[in-house]
């Protein structure tokens, strides 16, 4: 395992356990855009604990997201349990408890060099992510930060993707008060309108999920070249359509490839909506 200095805990399990009480296990999972995540075990109960890097955050900033999270009951969106606040070093950090998805994330798979997927797996990943995005959009919330690290895989199965952390990017986007510098959203997976610093929209999420599927299926990012700036990335999305993934690998059937390519359109209105994406996947 390569040591990644950016993926080390900032608060750490000791401080968290001190604030929230002892755990049977508290395993650091990773550090993301908005905070750090742990696999927490108390007795027979295993769940994911996420501590947000926004000390003393006012409730109103995420009331809407919490309300939406608590209404979710969908196999492709992480289940929410509760939220609270932890007193750490004299500050109050908000935290969430969600279902723990045993199977790692798409990012874990990519980091491990797993790129050879079957067409069934790729289609399953796309279908699952579309279903998850449809669910949160129906709740009136945008994800805004879909990326491989935010797509868990139930039991490691590509056909059971589970969206994590939806809506939280907006909370942090509303304020520059994040304690630890973190870009809101992840440039490599942002839709071009987000890269232009315009508000995210539903089809921004569609673009991001298509990048994830393209990268997972082909092993290649559709646009990004190492060292590329956000502006260069934006220009490339605008001017150079991605290679057809069918020319890169055998993980895409025709419908999956065509839907993914449509979702990677520069203009949001040229991307498919969720209904149209499902329709095209079914080949109607």
């Amino acid at each position: 395992m390569v040591f990644d200095p950016l993926n080390q805990p900032v608060l750490g399990p000791d401080l968290i356990a001190e604030a929230l009480g002892a755990f049977d296990e508290l395993e650091f999972l990773g550090r993301g855009t908005f905070g750090e995540s742990y696999r927490a075990v108390r007795g027979d109960d295993e769940y994911c604990l996420k501590v947000v890097f926004y000390a003393d955050m006012p409730d109103h900033l995420w009331e809407r997201e919490i309300a939406a999270l608590s209404r979710v009951d969908h196999p492709n969106v992480v289940g929410f349990r509760t939220s609270g606040r932890a007193e750490i070093r004299g500050k109050t950090y908000p935290y969430l408890e969600c279902d723990y998805i045993n199977g790692g994330t798409v990012k874990n798979q990519l980091d491990q060099g797993r790129t050879s997927m079957t067409t069934t797996e790729t289609r399953g990943l796309l279908t699952g992510l579309l279903a998850g995005v449809a669910e949160i959009h129906d709740l009136g919330v945008l994800h805004r930060d879909i990326k491989p690290a935010n797509a868990a895989l139930g039991d490691g199965d590509w056909g059971q993707p589970v969206l994590l952390d939806f809506g939280l990017a907006r909370v942090l986007d509303m304020s520059s008060h994040t304690e630890y510098p973190a870009r809101i959203g992840t440039e490599a997976y942002m839709a071009p309108e987000q890269l232009r610093n315009q508000p995210a929209r539903r089809r921004s999420d569609m673009f991001s999920l298509a990048v994830v599927v393209y990268e997972a299926g082909s092993g290649n990012h559709p646009f990004l070249v190492p060292g590329m700036s956000a502006q260069s990335l934006h220009d490339r999305i605008q001017n150079e359509p991605p290679d057809d993934p069918r020319e890169l690998c055998e993980a895409f059937d025709d419908q999956t490839a065509e839907v993914v390519l449509r979702l990677l359109s520069y203009r949001a209105y040229e991307r498919l909506g969720i209904t149209e994406a499902f329709r095209d996947l079914e080949g109607d």
């Binding site: 309108e193 315009q198 929209r201 539903r202 089809r203 203009r267 949001a268 209105y269 040229e270 909506g273």
Partner: protein
């Protein structure tokens, strides 16, 4: 209802409403299949008059809209039309701050006028550097979509932008992005244009291309757009998915020659269907000698006297124009291949213009159908 389109939307303008009412009656009687609807502009009348006009039009138009012209909210109160003393929404001091009340009042005004469908209000985007008007317009649209007051009526999302917005790739792209994110429904898109000089047809290539792209993109996303007050420039977009275009007997029919001193005399324009544009009525006799000229068979031309002298009725000439808008709408709408039908018509018009030139008939510079080449190029792609 509007979603059934496409239609030609005849606008009640400055002329007496009985003119348009009779036009609609005659058209419905003689050509019941023609897709003709009508619009009444609410601020121009008292509510009682609007309701009466709408009711009279409804007997023969496919449907009638009551356009609230909310772009007038950016004008001083005194310039908000005759209805400003009667219609609550025109008295609103700040539509954005009081948006719920404003939206309700706009919808209620249309419903009380008896409109068959209602249009959400708008503020014109593109007149200022910010997108505040556009954001407000979309907020109005969302609020309108939530209002139970509209009942079973179809809701059109009203949007107004300047022609610069339509012409600019980025601004247009962002506009379409926003339009496709609206709740389900069709779009009533006003484009604020710089009027063509004289009585020429609107022919700005970048705007025409933008209008076509908007129509295509919205159709691809399950929506349709109607272009009110765009005349035949809107007709060009019907094959791209627009579900209507609108025109009235324009006040420009009364335009005067720019005087060197004192007053000029009114120009007397005639819509020459074979060039899809306007010529001076004094030029028609010469044009009628050109090989290939077809005498107009509309019910109005028999009351028009061409050449010099005798009387001329702008109103009748205007009804002739509306008749042709209806005919052209029908021609394209009901063609098995709309694109081909439109291109054939444009091609025939260009051929006739070539014949006019070959016959050495000299037209006033303002009568030359320069729009034809631009329209053909704009619809070629």
């Amino acid at each position: 209802m509007p979603s059934r389109g496409p239609v030609f939307l005849a606008h009640q303008g400055a002329q007496a409403p009985i003119l348009l009412e009779n036009f609609l009656l005659a058209t419905a009687a003689e050509h019941p299949d023609w897709p003709v609807a009508a619009t009444v502009f609410l601020p121009r009348y008292t509510p009682a008059t609007s309701a009466e006009i709408v009711s009279n039009f409804q007997s023969s138009a496919r449907y009638v809209l009551a356009d609230p012209e909310t772009h007038r909210m950016l004008d001083p109160f005194a310039e908000r039309g005759r209805g400003r003393h009667h219609l609550g929404y025109l008295q609103e001091s700040d539509p954005r701050a009081n948006r719920q009340r404003f939206v309700d009042a706009v919808l209620r005004a249309q419903i009380e006028a008896g409109a068959d469908a209602v249009i959400s209000p708008w503020l014109t985007h593109g007149t200022r550097r910010t997108s505040a008007h556009l954001r407000a317009t979309f907020r109005f649209a969302e609020l309108a979509a939530e209002r139970a007051i509209i009942g079973d009526r179809e809701l059109l999302f009203g949007v107004a932008v300047t022609e610069d917005v339509v012409a600019d790739d980025n601004e247009r792209g962002e506009l379409i992005d926003d339009l496709v994110d609206l709740p389900e429904g069709n779009v009533y898109l006003r484009i604020q244009v710089t009027p063509p000089t004289s009585f020429g047809q609107y022919a700005v290539p970048s705007v025409l291309a933008g209008m076509r792209e908007i129509a295509r993109a919205l159709e691809a996303n399950g929506r349709r757009v109607i272009y009110p007050q765009m005349g035949l420039a809107g007709w060009l977009t019907v094959p791209d998915g627009a579900f209507g275009f609108g025109s009235g007997i324009s006040a420009s029919m009364q335009r005067f020659v720019a005087p060197a001193s004192g007053f000029g005399r009114p120009l007397e324009w005639y819509f020459l269907p074979q060039v899809l544009g306007f010529v001076l009525r004094s030029e028609v006799p010469d044009i009628s000698d050109v090989t290939g000229y077809d005498e107009c068979e509309c019910p109005y031309c028999e009351d028009l006297t061409f050449g010099i002298g005798a009387g001329w009725s702008r109103d009748v000439a205007g009804l002739h124009y509306l008749w042709w808008c209806s005919e052209l709408a029908d021609e394209v709408t009901n063609a098995p291949n709309r694109v081909a039908a439109l291109r054939d018509r444009l091609e025939a018009s260009r051929e006739f213009w070539s014949a006019i030139q070959a016959s050495r008939v000299l037209l006033d510079e303002r009568s030359e159908p320069r729009h034809l080449a631009i329209w053909s190029a704009a619809t070629a792609a």
